[in-house]
């Protein structure tokens, strides 16, 4: 039984939906992965739909890695890096930001919804924010449904 689609799902519709998205999260080694670690050691709760891939810098995530993930079965991709100005490599996250614009443009070419991709800055001390962003992303992807490439 499929629940009727709604723009703002209540907890009840989320609970009855059988769709469990797979979301690839690229986290940078210096900030966001540490934030994920902090969220874990602080025992913060967030949905188990995410698969974290640690990269040295958000600036090394080429658009290929995002598009390939989305066209090979991932329902969403989230990129997390240091806040602007905080990059360990000075401007890696600015590079990620300019690439994000290109990625958003290309989602349309691959008939993917813009909600499936997101770029977020999460600093090392922001464990609660990491959990919050993950929860938001999972809800956002659940709303658009499974990837057409599955």
């Amino acid at each position: 039984m499929n629940p009727t689609p709604s723009t703002s799902p209540t907890l009840a519709t989320l609970a009855t939906s059988h769709f469990e998205p797979v979301i690839i999260v690229y986290t940078c080694y210096w900030c966001s992965y540490t934030a994920a670690d902090l969220a874990g050691t602080s025992r913060l709760q967030y949905p188990p739909n995410i698969r974290i891939i640690r990269v040295q810098c958000s600036g090394m995530v080429h658009p290929n890695l995002v598009i390939d993930a989305l066209t090979n079965g991932a329902d969403g991709v989230l990129m997390c890096g240091c806040h602007e100005g905080d990059c360990h490599y000075l401007e890696g996250n600015l590079r990620a930001k300019s690439r994000a614009d290109a990625i958003k443009m290309m989602l349309e070419d691959f008939a993917l919804e813009p909600e499936r991709y997101r770029l977020e800055w999460v600093a090392a001390s922001e464990g609660p924010r990491f959990a919050e962003v993950m929860t938001e992303m999972v809800e956002q992807v659940k709303r658009v449904g499974p990837s057409p490439y599955k």
Binding site: P63, A102, M105
Partner: protein, 308 residues
């Protein structure tokens, strides 16, 4: 005993056939070893017999088959399958055969739209019904040869350089393996790269800074703002000895005719990434899918806009 070669051409301009004629001196070494048994462009051998006496098309048995051009219609598909059954080793020659090439730009539109645009709705053409029966029907899109039949060797390029073709044939005759370059055009490009654009995007007709000066002193064309497809294109156009890429040698940006580096790569994704990385604005590029898949539209890289 010379090696028998059969060749057939499909959706192509004929440039790759000229490559065979353009080999130059090495052709003198090759010719005694080769015997062309079917080659529509350069010799008179007809599919239905010399006087049209046969009812079915046939290609003579041969050791090596060469196909140039993509598979556009039913006849192309039939002949490609026939060729495969007649030869032991099949070469797809040129970017049309390997990746669809220029004809595959039509893959962006459904077949009916193409008919409407080119024939029925064209103000300078007397519109009529699409002919059926007398001419082979078009397939739904342009296919690369290896999407239809098994291909043993792919030689990309628009056209394939004569020395690459000669080298491949030499290797085949000697029985040694032949492999394509696995680097990108940028890896063989001598211009100065600093990974930062010094200008905004330019149109190709604007003057290139440093044109005429030694290439080692010229700034990377993409960093000057010209759309150069070097980062997403296979090297090899400069010759088998790894020379300077052909277009760059003439102070022109690479157009991507050697096709993507990997068979499953999408040059559009690579190029959009490369442009935004050095600080150019990818939003300014109109028609990015066709722009960056100009020679690689088959295999689903270019397709009609999906309905959402």
């Amino acid at each position: 005993m010379p090696v028998k070669v059969a060749q057939e051409w499909f959706a192509i301009c004929g440039g790759c056939e000229v490559t065979v004629l353009d080999i130059g001196e090495p052709l003198l070494d090759l010719l005694p070893e080769l015997e062309f048994v079917h080659f529509p462009v350069i010799m008179d051998h007809k599919l239905f017999g010399q006087t049209g006496e046969n009812n079915t098309a046939d290609i003579p048995q041969a050791d090596v088959g060469i196909i140039t051009g993509g598979i556009r219609n039913e006849e192309n598909r039939h002949l490609a399958e026939l060729m495969r059954s007649r030869v032991n080793f099949l070469i797809a020659m040129g970017s049309c055969a390997c990746y669809g090439g220029i004809p595959a730009l039509a893959n962006q539109f459904p077949l009916e739209d193409l008919y409407d645009r080119v024939y029925r709705g064209n103000s300078t053409t007397d519109s009529g019904e699409t002919p059926k029966g007398a001419v082979p029907a078009l397939l739904d899109r342009v296919y690369a040869v290896d999407e239809v039949v098994k291909v043993d060797l792919k030689l990309p390029g628009c056209p394939t350089t004569p020395d690459m073709f000669a080298a491949a044939v030499m290797h085949l005759l000697k029985g040694t393996p032949f492999a394509l370059e696995e680097k990108s055009v940028c890896d063989q490009c001598p211009t100065i790269r600093e990974k930062k654009a010094v200008a905004t995007l330019k149109r190709p007709l604007e003057p290139i800074e440093g044109a005429g000066e030694p290439l080692e002193t010229v700034r990377c064309l993409m960093e000057q703002g010209f759309l150069c497809q070097g980062p997403a294109t296979r090297a090899g156009c400069g010759g088998m000895d790894g020379g300077t890429p052909r277009c760059v040698k003439a102070y022109m940006p690479c157009r991507g005719c050697y096709g993507p580096l990997r068979d499953d790569a999408n040059p559009m994704v690579d190029m959009m990434g490369a442009l935004s990385t050095i600080g150019l604005d990818p939003a300014q590029i109109s028609d990015r899918a066709a722009q960056f898949n100009r020679f690689a539209g088959a295999k689903g890289r270019l397709r009609a806009a999906p309905k959402r």
